[in-house]
Point group: C2
DNA sequence: CTGACTCCTGCGTTTATCGCAGAGTTGATC
DNA sequence: GATCAACTCTGCGATAAACGCAGGAGTCAG
């Protein structure tokens, strides 16, 4: 496959910087493989990359512990009984970060991004039905202080959903 | 945690329906656990759910093979060197599904959803930089036949990203 | 009742994971 | 330039998990 790059990527390079978690070429390779199959064994991962099994295990563990990567099961919410999903575009006044955090605290909110353009915030909601969606919008989203406008885009069909962007 | 429900969910119930992949309570429990930790061992998963290890392994394999669930590593693209992410809201004329498929074929597009509201399609782009984003919009998105309007929301900060909605 | 089907269990074999001690490098300090 | 601490890798034995398969039990159609 692709060439293995530096077997010894400057050991001891990242001292001082405590929890820095360098994303060297090896870690990127690890992530790329796990983006395709999150359950790949450390052993085969090690063979593919050209490192010992223990070293790969160590690196994966560090990536997970550091919150830089997580390995999870993903599904189409529609197949799990969440009949109603929606993206909400918000315009707000005040502290963007704080409002984003408030929204992030809502369990039914699975995605919050601060952005530039016609909306200040984009928020994805996962609901069981229309009633649930209405409740959320009415009780949890619109009442947030600083929210001046709220436009809802109800999902009709999820056409693509990928997590393997690779790395650069 | 939650009570274990029916140990024997009507064996042999889903005959006839060839590749149906029933989402019974057990499968939902499996998904819920793997949404939290995709690398959980079949053994502990089996103990938590109250089935044999082999049965759980069989079910997980079927969920994966059937494309109903995938276990992958997820990361914040920004930490992986993708400095520029954006959501694009499109208004289109013509066949929504076909246009959605065309967009889905673009590698840099990781999310396409057909929706109701001010936009017909929401598309998420993962780019290395502004140049890349400009290229994409100019060469791959706007030229698509039927696209009448295109509004871009550049990501400034990802505030939340979850894949564990649980199940209903 | 019989047969086909599905799903589960139990168990032996193979494979992977875990934990730890030791070697090699690097950068800072003296 | 020698020493030391910090980091990462390797190798290996003990433990644990995954795999494959044969057998049992339930369900449904004829």
């Amino acid at each position: 496959m692709s060439d293995v790059i530096a077997l010894h990527p400057h050991p001891g390079k990242n001292r001082g910087v405590t929890a820095d978690l360098a994303l060297d070429q090896i870690n990127k390779q690890i992530i790329e493989h796990l983006q395709r199959d999150g359950r790949m064994s450390y052993a085969t991962l090690a063979k593919e990359i050209g490192l010992s099994e223990a070293a790969v295990r160590q690196r994966v563990q560090r990536l997970l512990d550091g919150g830089l990567m997580q390995i999870v099961a993903v599904t189409d919410p529609l197949t799990l009984g969440f009949a109603r999903q929606a993206m909400v575009g918000l315009k707000v006044n005040g502290d963007l970060r704080q409002i984003a955090d408030e929204l992030a605290a809502v369990p039914e909110v699975d995605y919050v991004v601060i952005c530039a353009g016609g909306f200040d915030l984009l928020v994805e909601l996962v609901c069981t039905d229309d009633e649930h969606l209405l409740d959320l919008l009415n009780e949890k989203v619109r009442p947030i202080k600083g929210v001046t406008s709220c436009e809802t885009f109800m999902y009709l069909k999820l056409a693509k959903q990928t997590y393997a962007w690779g790395t650069r």
